[in-house]
Symmetry: C2
Subunit: 199 residues, 2 copies
């Protein structure tokens, strides 16, 4: 695609920040924009390694990815499954996500009305909105159909959810268990960056 434009923007970015243009950084940038899916640092590292060519170390991948996020070239997203996903942001404007808790597929969408309401909520509270992150979790069309068909086969995290509704008196809408996938045992962890600012 307009890879040239992106490279240019990247070069400008580097220059403005007295950062150097290295083949590793360029390769990471290119590969990141070559994918129109979400990927993890580890995955990108794997691609670069498998595709041969000049090698790029894992550390450089992490460092560069982090830099690209800071520069606004990429955006990071917590999949909610314990992985930090990246996606390029130039070109297609901000969007929110639909994550299938069954097959893991990620769909994107945007809705101006929702965005507008978010701003409204913030303004009403004197909150200065900088960014937002909306994740809708559930079953994508195909997984949903599959479930309906099989009718009986519940994703069965441990079917704790069903009980929950009842015992917890989880009132209102059956908006179910957010923890569908993290059943017992392996709970979930999720950390990321910035522990430094953790006070």
């Amino acid at each position: 695609m307009k890879q040239a434009t992106i490279r240019k923007a990247f070069e400008t970015f580097l220059r403005e920040h007295s950062l150097k243009l290295t083949p590793q950084r360029m390769r990471i940038l290119d590969r990141a924009f070559e994918t129109h899916e979400h990927f993890t640092a580890e995955e990108l590292y794997g691609w670069l390694r498998d595709e041969g060519g000049s090698s790029v170390s894992r550390a450089t991948v992490y460092r560069t990815l982090s830099m690209l996020v800071d520069g606004g070239f990429l955006e990071s997203l917590d999949s909610g499954r314990g992985e930090l996903l990246y996606e390029h942001v130039m070109g297609h404007r901000h969007h929110d996500h639909l994550l299938c808790i069954d097959c893991g597929k990620i769909e994107e969408f945007t809705d101006e009305r929702i965005e507008a309401l978010q701003k409204e909520v913030c303004e009403a509270r004197g909150f200065e909105l900088v960014d937002h992150d909306l994740r809708l979790q559930g079953y994508c069309r195909s997984c949903s159909l599959k479930r309906t068909r099989e009718n009986k086969k519940r994703p069965d995290p441990l079917n704790v959810q069903a009980e929950r509704e009842r015992s917890a008196g989880a009132s209102t809408d059956g908006g179910g268990g957010k923890s569908a996938r993290r059943s017992l045992g392996r709970g979930g962890a999720a950390k990321s960056a910035a522990r430094k600012s953790k006070r």
Copy 2:
């Protein structure tokens, strides 16, 4: 508050799942519901340790917290700062979050209109919504005012870095863009559970 109700629900939950009622579990449940803020597993562990009384091991805290999430007593939330936060969910209905990227404060809110639109978006795509997670990041009222007063820089979408770089030395931090806290230094990690499902 209605701690009795909660304990009862918990006991029922345990019974229904052939799980045992142990003093550790009870203590963790109580402490979790005693707090009306968000907390991390590590924090809860610290409280229990510092407050004396029968000891509870770190592993048990993690295990129980995970169980409480599965049971629908708690909900987990990725603060976006690399920590997995927990909060009790009984009583107060679902809500979304406003996270201050400066002071770290977390505010909660709900907006039926946004919820409705989310459902609409899903229906239009044949997506079966199970749960959602909306996080608005920015500056809370007080931090926003403080910034205005100090006439701080604007959070440039793409050049947040320039400022960041500079303020990095002077610290005091003025807060930058979304990734303000991520840049150099110790980022963080991001892992979790469900790694098993990571193909």
